[in-house]
Amino acid sequence: MDVGVAVKAALDLNVLRSNPDGSVAVENIPLVISEYDRNAVYEARRIADSTRGRVIIYSFLTWWPADRKEKDFENVIREALALGGDEAYVVVDPTVSGSEPRFTAKVLASLIRKYGSPSLVITGEASTDMTSSSIAPYLAATLGYSVVTFARSLKVSDGGIVVERDVEDYIETVRASLPAVVSVTGEINSPRLPTLLQIRKAFRKPLVKTTLSELGLSPMLPKYSDYRLVTVKRKRVILEDGSPEELVDKLVSYLVEEGVLKR
């Protein structure tokens, strides 16, 4: 069974820089594979191996300017291929300057329909840069697939899937029919970092680039004008006076006040 993976080239938070006014200098920040998409590729590889299928990578370059981001983007896709993808279909379009989840899902859905239409599409639970967690549901809705989010285990059986969902307070096991879109958490597996040699080898795997117009899509409107970092100042509260018991009580009451803990 072929398995599709929607991969995002996210802003590298390790080197995130903002201008003095708080706006993010998007054009200068390198791209990196979105953390949980590694898990998605790894999981897809495992399923494809046990069902003799291919792993197809889909991606849409949402960060701009496309000409300056294209090399980074390609590296991200090569990395996904090195992690276990067999082939990749991507959209790189100079007219794009940012995207919101519904549009991204529409672009990915067009790619998926045009190239391979796998009946199972996996993606990370959220992107590391924007963290909307909404691509999987939008994508499923656009494709007309069923959707299961936050999977911490995934099994294919009898033409359907059995998924353990991590919903924080408890884990629920759901069964869904195929075709489906599944978003996975970081707990589902532990992907290895690809080595340079594996990435070099991935250069032999097909990577097909296309544009919005070739997919029959028009650019998203309105465009984003800028992104801003919201900085939260530390409150720097230091509890010093009192016995350990009193300090703990004080700390707990502070945390309750801040809404971190629930009584």
Binding site: N14, V32, L193, T195, L196, I199
Partner: protein, 663 residues
Amino acid sequence: MVEEPGIEHFLFVEDIEALVYITLVISAAIFLYGLYRRVVSWFGTFPPPLPSPGRALRNIVVYGLLQRRVVRKPSTGGMHVLVFYGFIILFIGTVLRALEYDITLRFFGTRFLVGDTYLVFKFFMNIGGLIAIIGLIGLLLRRGGFKSPYLPDRPSDYLLLITLLVILFTGFLLDSIATLSYRLGWIGLYDFIGVALASSLEGLGLDLVGLYRGLWVFHMVLAQLSVALIPYTKLGHIVFGGIFNYAYARERHPAEIPGPEDPEAEAEEKGYIGVLSISDLNWKERMDLDACIECSRCTDVCPATASGKPLSPMHLILALRDLAREGYEGELVPEKIEPDILWSCVTCGACVDACPMLIHHVETIIDIRRGLVSKGEEVPEDALNVSYNLMRYGNPMGYDPMERAKVIEELSRETGVPIAEEGGEYEYLFWVGCQTVYEPANREIAKSLLSLLRKAGVDVAIMPDETCCGEPAKRIGDELMYVEIVRMNIEGFSRYRFKKLLVNCPHGYTVFKHEYKRYGLSLDVVHHTQLLSQLLREGRLRPKRRDRSITFHDPCYLGRWNGVLEEPREVIRSITSDFREMPRNGRRSFCCGAGGGQMFYEVKRGERISRLRMMEARETGAEVIGTACPFCRTMFLAEANDSVEVLDISQLLEAAVDEDGKA
């Protein structure tokens, strides 16, 4: 009988003389077959390609005849010297004897071991036998109680020593019977052992002729058998090590870790780089395996072993040798060798430096690491991270590359040392290096160094567009990444005109000095301790000497690998009258634990190497631990408490110069 001193050949055994020649042919055949098998296993062909004769001869003389490495450990090395020279003398004597009988007497009817010559000959044979016996007994006693815990201690090890002793004792017994029968009158003390034994044999009333014949056959067959078994036993080190491994010794500097000729092509062709199975080892690595004498000197000094990690260099070499000899064709790791063994290595080179047979354990370990990195399996996650970070950020820690430029600008601003410009010309180009740029505590090293150079009026500029030097990639086994980095740096260097490259990191020093030339760039590399000691000698820096107690930790990559031992000490002695050496110093220094990429990953077994070294440093009672490597400094800072300071040589010197307000 003979009128003047000389040999009575085949006394009492003329009728069975042919036995010597028969056993000789058999033992020679067994010996040569064993040798042939090994040579073919290294080179794949026979006869093997010849080494360069001058170098081969020099190595055999220096390391073999002069036993240079062997005597580094005076106790057991001394005993080995006695056995070695004893048997050399006996071997030469036996050959001379055979020459007289089988050549000069047989074909020309003349003897040369006669008269005074014979007496001298006899005396030397006594000495040879005696010192060999003393050495062997010493070695047996060592096994009785004074041996390293890592020394293999099997019955066969004793059997070997005892066999050699039996050969020597029976030789002396034969000698004494012969002396008794025809030379007691004139031999005197030239045969002091023979005469002494003869006098005690005389009164026993034995059938001396019968005894002689029996002993003769026993002695001769045992000696021939021992020679025949050389290639099959520990004695193999005589030929595989003492002749082959010396003659074919690596010509490059030991600090230069070689890599595949063309890693890209190798990756293309085999699908991986380095060593996955025995057949991937190169001929030199395979020869190394057979050269091992199992003396455990490598393991005795290995910081991984000492800290309870699974690596023991000797046992790794022996495990590989066993696999090679049994013809094992599968993958080595993890099937036969536990991955942690390879990842425990800090590449400190203590094993390489200690090995009397010139084995390069580190080269083999890195070659196997390359195989693992190629597969991306059995590699510590954090080590893979190093490669990944290098790929993305140009430094092994994954820090922001923009940060580097900022730090370099700051350094320039604070010290007044310019940043190198294209087109400018400088005496020294200073490469700051990742461990100094990114570790705030270590930036002080660069700051102190540059201030000192500024004060001394040195023409220096800071290299602005540096990345990783490649050392971590190389040591971790990511050859592709390493080559990519080297090429990039060579291009970077080409933009600047400078005479010497100045570094404060011995790891960068090593790769720039020894490993970049393979890619076409010969650099004159200077470590900052070298430059600082030179400035002191020239009187361009005049520190004030005080009595603060300082000890010095020799970084492996500076001291042992590169022999820079005196320079940092010169600097320390110039600033303190209380310099305290640690027990393990100089070439015998003990690693800080950060080498071989272990700054970035950890084999969490046993103790931390850095802790062991820190305890050693503390025991000197010194207030300051001097370092000359940012890796070492970081490790010690992590172990230090308030009672001891960890400072680089440049920081120490700057403090001493500042107070004085300079000369």
